[in-house]
């Protein structure tokens, strides 16, 4: 059934037809007609943020914690440019978003009109796809197509730029029978021959390892179930990237912990020494591989990815399977069951022996201190006191993020929201707003650093306005900790501009926003303070004063391979670890 309506009404109708319940945004001149259309209905709830970057990160947190497409509505010019960091973040981490931007009327485009910018030009490289809608006839199709493009294939952000005259124009709206793009058809099913070859290779493995990533999470909860099944069936060890945490439970017996620059000793050595690597939904990022010419030199590699361009991009693989992780895992499980291959049991037992030896190294051990809260201890306690609850964790970017990944253990997918690819400081607080909105009754905690959190602190107002009781747990070491750590390791301990000078009083700041503030500096008081945070039914900022110059270990230093990592009990001079070539790198 087609109906006559304005472009602005079509936007809201299409959102309703797509089942959108929440949209994060900020009004302005070029989107006023859409805001007026929102005013006349109550199906789509608008969440007013305090900065457009916050809107996009909130939509990311919403999308990643719920599996739905996140929606954003911002105005032209500065509204759109402020959204760019969030869009880039979503592109790098493959988060499905639809971002609607207002634009000046079509006859003014290109005239440097007030609040005009070339939104499609600026966002072309930080979106999966974008549209400038010049004719009302195209609007219904584009609105629905955007959701299809954002969520099919490798997910990503899509921008729809709508000039104000198109929002006012009247046209026929009909919900398309299918919102598919006319030609965009990502490959979902993996090639059967290659899957068979992968299973055959796995069956002969003596030192196998699963290396999984965010693609398993993006594929949906079913993919995580199938991954668990395959890991159990094969008996192989499994590690995961930062983005993939939770797909396999950290409590699982075959779990090695996270791999990569700040990954565990056992995970990185297993990657280095394995003979068959099964990479599922990860992309051989430079934080994972370390020195590329020394990356897992003895292994045959299987790579499952929905994005053909990820295969053979950084690392040559022996079997590249293009397809959705869930579908390929389903085929792999079925084939493994059907073939029930005779694995090399003695070799696998020997491999597990070696892994247990590495595990015994206890690479995440740290020295406790009776007087100062160690940041690792803070995360450990936070985990212990929340693990039996329905908890969602977001983070900012830096040392606290790595400590959270190391010491907070995830048993389920979609519980962990962090900025992996882009490394966006300021991600966590707005992402917590989004996650809390998607899960109103759950405990949502932003594990933060005192520097990162100030980048989007204004979103505390959003949390208060919408009664979202997020908890901001700040590991406050008065430094941009990861910057300081690198300056210690690479630049002779000259802490150029990395000290967090003139910090606000976070307790008073929380109260100023209308939330609750807690400060804790005594390890003996930490549990009580954390429980107070959990039991407070409104937004909380927890200022956890931690050891100031703690380094985040284990670490693979620049210029080194997986088997050359620094462990926490390293006693040498940190300034000597990295050679001159390594210093040039990040």
């Amino acid at each position: 059934m087609t109906r006559q309506m304005t472009g602005a009404e079509m936007v809201v109708q299409a959102l309703q037809d797509q089942g959108v319940e929440h949209i994060f945004g900020y009004p302005g001149g070029a989107v006023l007609p859409i805001y007026d259309a929102l005013f006349h209905q109550d199906k789509v709830r608008h969440v007013l943020v305090r900065h457009e970057q916050g809107a996009v990160h909130a939509a990311e947190g919403y999308a990643r914690s719920s599996g739905k497409v996140g929606c954003v509505l911002v105005t032209s010019g500065p509204g759109a440019t402020n959204a760019v960091t969030g869009l880039t973040d979503a592109l790098l981490d493959s988060i499905p978003l639809v971002c609607i931007t207002g634009q000046v009327p079509t006859h003014l485009i290109g005239s440097d009109a007030f609040q005009e910018c070339d939104t499609v030009g600026i966002t072309r490289h930080c979106t999966k796809h974008n549209y400038l809608v010049k004719r009302i006839e195209d609007l219904p199709r584009i609105l629905h197509e955007a959701f299809y493009v954002a969520s099919n294939g490798r997910p990503g952000p899509v921008v729809i730029d709508i000039p104000k005259d198109v929002q006012f124009a009247k046209g026929q709206y009909a919900r398309p029978m299918s919102n598919q793009h006319k030609t965009y058809r990502p490959q979902i099913k993996g090639d059967a021959g290659k899957i068979k070859a992968a299973i055959d290779l796995m069956a002969t493995a003596k030192r196998p390892v699963f290396y999984t990533g965010g693609g398993v999470i993006n594929s949906g909860p079913q993919a995580s179930e199938l991954l668990r099944e395959l890991v159990a069936l094969t008996g192989f060890p499994i590690t995961s990237t930062l983005m993939g945490l939770g797909a396999y439970p950290a409590a699982g017996p075959q779990w090695l912990g996270m791999l990569g620059m700040h990954g565990t000793y056992e995970a990185n050595l297993a990657m280095h020494d394995c003979d068959v690597m099964i990479c599922i939904g990860a992309r051989f990022d430079d934080r994972i591989t370390g020195r590329l010419d020394a990356f897992s030199p003895k292994s045959k590699k299987i790579h499952v990815d929905i994005d053909p361009s990820s295969i053979n991009k950084n690392v040559h693989v022996d079997i590249g399977i293009v397809g959705d992780c869930g579908h390929v895992l389903e085929d792999m499980v079925r084939l493994w069951r059907a073939q029930s291959p005779q694995v090399d049991k003695p070799a696998l037992a020997e491999w597990w022996n070696r892994i247990d030896g590495w595990r015994a190294r206890n690479c995440l051990a740290f020295r406790k201190d009776a007087n100062v809260i160690k940041p690792q201890y803070a995360i450990q306690r936070l985990y212990e006191l929340t693990k039996d609850r329905d908890v969602y964790i977001t983070t900012e970017v830096g040392q606290h993020q790595m400590w959270a990944a190391q010491y907070f253990h995830f048993q389920e997918p979609n519980r962990w929201m962090t900025s992996g690819g882009l490394g966006t400081m300021g991600y966590g607080l707005p992402a917590a707003v989004g996650a809390q909105l998607a899960h109103p009754g759950s405990l949502v905690i932003d594990i933060a650093g005192e520097a990162s959190v100030l980048m989007n602190m204004q979103e505390m107002s959003t949390a208060l306005q919408h009664r979202l009781p997020i908890k901001v747990f700040i590991l406050n070491n008065e430094y941009m900790g990861m910057v300081r750590q690198w300056q210690e390791l690479l630049h002779g301990g000259r802490y150029s501009e990395s000290y967090s000078a003139a910090l606000p009083d976070f307790v008073k700041l929380a109260e100023a926003y209308g939330g609750h503030g807690i400060r804790c500096s005594d390890p003996a008081d930490l549990d009580r303070a954390i429980l107070e945070m959990i039991d407070t039914p409104k937004p909380v900022i927890f200022d956890c004063l931690v050891a100031k110059e703690e380094n985040c270990f284990p670490m693979i230093p620049s210029g080194k391979a997986h088997n050359e990592m620094i462990l926490p009990d390293f006693e040498g001079k940190t300034g000597d670890i990295i050679d001159a070539r390594g210093r040039e790198l990040v």
Partner: protein, 177 residues
């Protein structure tokens, strides 16, 4: 190089490839394709684009680029990843293909040079599109090498301006892309 980043590719042979890219002819599609090349550090030696199927609004872009096998594979996959791109064919690996380019060449002068320009143009099978008492405009269609050769000769006899279309290419035989 010791690095957390990928090593610079070892000295693998860099080869020239011709890619045919079928795309939806929609606003911005060329910017997407060209931006992908600049954004990811690939180079474009030649680029030709025009709508080839009007009813479907499909354009054919012919790109000549150069890179190692791995880079060319990446370029192909990155292009295929763009939403309005239907199909990318590497004509260079697919088999024999034909490549042609069109050039408009203006020469100016008088006397013997002018006569020689006309003689050479005729030897190359170039058409004369415009003539005045002091100038010619020739049209030459051929391989890039042939056009280069023609331009070198014209340089001796009063070449003043050149406009080239870039390469259009197609596989030989009955197969289509």
């Amino acid at each position: 190089m010791k690095s957390h980043y990928s090593d610079a590719p070892k000295a693998q042979p860099i080869l020239r490839h011709t890619l045919s890219v079928l795309v939806d002819n929609e606003p911005g599609v060329l910017a997407r394709v060209v931006g992908l090349f600049s954004g990811r550090g690939y180079n474009i030696e030649s680029l030709t684009v025009s709508e080839t199927e009007h009813e479907q609004h499909v354009s054919r872009i012919t790109i000549v680029t150069a890179g190692t096998d791995q880079v060319i594979e990446q370029i192909r996959h990155q292009l295929e990843r763009l939403v309005p791109v239907h199909r990318v064919t590497d004509l260079t690996v697919q088999g024999e293909s034909i490549e042609r380019e069109l050039a408009l060449v203006k020469v100016a002068g008088k006397g013997e040079a002018r006569v020689e320009a006309l003689r050479l143009a005729s030897a190359f099978g170039a058409r004369t599109l415009d003539a005045t008492v002091t100038s010619f405009v020739f049209e030459l269609t051929g391989s890039s090498e042939e056009i280069e050769r023609f331009l070198r000769l014209m340089g001796e006899v009063g070449l003043v301006e050149v406009s080239r279309t870039g390469i259009a290419a197609m596989a030989r035989g009955a197969e289509t892309i």
